[in-house]
């Protein structure tokens, strides 16, 4: 793709290109038919998969200790159990509260975090469950749905006293740039939370971003920097559909047009973007896509202009792809936000690190995070460690380079919401460095 010619000089600036391999097949639902099944199959598959992984790790770490099922626990015998963690939380909203508590006129203030000091953990495998005690496991760090191996012994009161815990750990990683040799810098722009159509978004700011990235603005130096951008990933929440219009009654023609306006505006901008360079768009919590994870790609009919270009890719949420031998994996933020409601950490990056160490993108699915009831697989199990792991729609930008025990190196990125911060994240795929790209219109406003 060639960028626009600069007016004064006649030399071209060519945009760099990178080999893209989309790896979203595991998140696509395709022709799955829902037959009324429940979530037990998902949990069974998850436990089975992790049991396989953990058994090899257990052999290495505790070669002399026996493993047993939960029902086979004997009093005082030191052993290892493998199962799914369940966190008993008294503040967790439950549909049964409607019946047990009196209805109040105004709802009790919804806490953003449902934790309570009295929460405790239970380990469950296919034979039974046992309550976990001990200081090693802090209930504030764990959530329902994590599979782990625990070493300890059963106490006389029937609870399992935990001495140490073994998580699956970071999965194996392919070497960086395998098959490609990268000498120059190539950048990828990650942006999320555009919220086109909402009161918070500034259309000028978004237009500035599109102009900068496509090389339409700036002097030669800026344009040469923009020419090194190979791809743009839009990680969710690109539109703000006016929910007030969807009050339940059938919409008249005028309302239908008003509802579709934000999408049309987004499509115009995406057409400009797609004409210049490859773009991936992922659905987010507020986008017109399905609610439960994995969210299916936004339909092409929403983007009548942009979908005409073959550089436009509508992706699933979570999204996984390979760019010049660099593995990317990321979501629009629902998994990390859900962890934030049911556990505690200093930063969002800690949650991201935990999901990698647990080898599972969304352990709280299907307990508190909507999820499709798969019968034959759990697509959120992370098989290969990504090189860049991103999470969209966060309050602020944060990044960290995580190193694994077997030489894995992962760049964790929290993408800030663009409508609130005006920032996008730029990652250099040659050396996994990243920096923030902020566009501001404040000096222009008189």
């Amino acid at each position: 793709m060639q960028a626009m010619e600069v007016d004064t000089d006649s030399h071209h600036l060519e945009r760099k290109q990178a080999d893209y391999k989309g790896q979203d097949e595991r998140y696509l639902l395709r022709m799955q038919r829902y037959r009324g099944q429940q979530y037990s199959h998902l949990y069974y598959f998850r436990l089975h998969k992790f049991r396989e992984i953990l058994n090899t790790l257990i052999q290495k770490r505790w070669p002399n200790l026996p493993s047993c099922t939960i029902l086979g626990l004997e009093d005082g015998k030191e052993c290892i159990i493998v199962g799914t963690v369940y966190k008993q939380m008294q503040l967790k909203p439950s549909v049964l509260d409607e019946y047990s508590k009196e209805r109040s006129v105004t709802p009790i203030a919804q806490p953003h975090n449902f934790m309570h000091p009295d929460d405790y953990l239970i380990l469950e495998d296919d034979s039974g469950r046992v309550k976990l005690t001990g200081n090693v496991l802090s209930p504030s760090m764990y959530v329902t749905g994590v599979v782990a191996a625990l070493h300890g012994k059963e106490g006389s009161d029937g609870d399992f006293y935990v001495q140490s815990i073994l998580e699956a750990g970071l999965p194996p990683q392919h070497p960086l740039h395998s098959g490609y040799s990268l000498k120059d810098n190539k950048y990828i722009v990650l942006v999320s939370g555009l919220m086109v159509g909402s009161m918070k978004s500034n259309p000028l700011q978004f237009q500035l971003l599109v102009d900068y990235v496509t090389g339409h603005s700036g002097d030669e130096q800026e344009q040469s920097m923009a020419a090194q951008i190979v791809r743009v990933i839009i990680a969710g929440d690109s539109v703000d559909m006016q929910q007030s219009l969807l009050a339940g009654q059938s919409l008249g023609l005028k309302e239908q047009r008003r509802l579709a306006e934000p999408i049309k505006e987004l499509d115009l901008a995406l057409t400009q973007l797609a004409a210049a360079m490859p773009v991936d768009i992922m659905p987010g919590p507020n986008d017109p896509a399905n609610f439960s994870l994995p969210q299916q790609p936004l339909h092409k009919c929403l983007f009548s202009g942009a979908s005409a270009y073959n550089t436009f890719v509508s992706a699933t949420n979570p999204h996984q792809f390979d760019l010049d031998g660099v593995c990317f994996l990321g979501t629009s933020g629902q998994n990390i936000d859900d962890l934030g409601k049911y556990s505690d950490a200093k930063e969002k990056l800690d949650y991201m690190e935990r999901t990698l160490k647990w080898r599972h993108l969304a352990p709280t699915a299907p307990d508190t995070l909507g999820c499709y009831p798969f019968t034959d697989r759990d697509p959120f199990v992370i098989e290969d460690c990504p090189h860049v792991y991103f999470c969209g729609n966060q309050k602020k930008y944060a990044s960290r380079l995580l190193e694994g025990s077997e030489g894995q190196v992962v760049r964790l990125v929290c993408i800030p919401s663009f409508c609130e911060t005006g920032s996008a994240v730029v990652v250099n795929i040659r050396n996994l460095e990243c920096h923030l790209l902020t566009l501001s219109t404040s000096s222009l406003v008189g």
């Binding site: 037959r35 099944q37 069974y44 598959f45 034979s127 009831p373 019968t375």
Partner: protein, 135 residues
């Protein structure tokens, strides 16, 4: 003139039902519940399963809450399929057809019995699991 029938209370209660006894060939739970009026706990006349002289091959595990399966068509094939359903090693059985569950177990390397697959594919075994429609 037709003979006048006595319409006293006795005659009312002497009326017999004229519906033929239901021979349930089908396995829907609705018809089962109609016939099963006598809880098995009171049924002392029949010896319990496994004892000498018992005519029921149904294992105790399947008599939940005292309901007996009056359909003696539970042949060997269905018995084997039910044992496959109940085996915890292959995961939950509700919500998936039996063949799909077998394929899943096979893909996970659990080595399910080949006989079950033969029954489901060729011998006309029922594709829905034991609890289908009942839970």
């Amino acid at each position: 003139m037709a003979p006048r029938r006595n319409t006293g209370i006795k005659e009312f209660y002497a009326q017999k039902k004229n519906t033929p006894p239901v021979k349930s060939k089908d396995r829907t739970p609705a018809t089962k519940r109609q016939i099963d009026t006598v809880p098995a706990a009171y049924d002392d006349a029949r010896p319990s399963t496994g004892t000498l002289g018992s005519d029921s091959a149904q294992p105790a595990a399947l008599i939940a809450k005292g309901r007996r399966d009056y359909n003696d068509d539970i042949d060997n094939m269905e018995e084997v399929l039910r044992q496959f359903d109940m085996n915890m090693k292959y995961g939950p059985c509700i919500g998936v057809p039996r063949l799909e569950r077998w394929e899943r177990a096979s893909k996970l390397g659990l080595d399910p019995p080949q006989q079950v697959k033969v029954f489901l594919e060729r011998a006309g075994g029922i594709s829905d699991c034991l609890w289908e429609g009942r839970v």
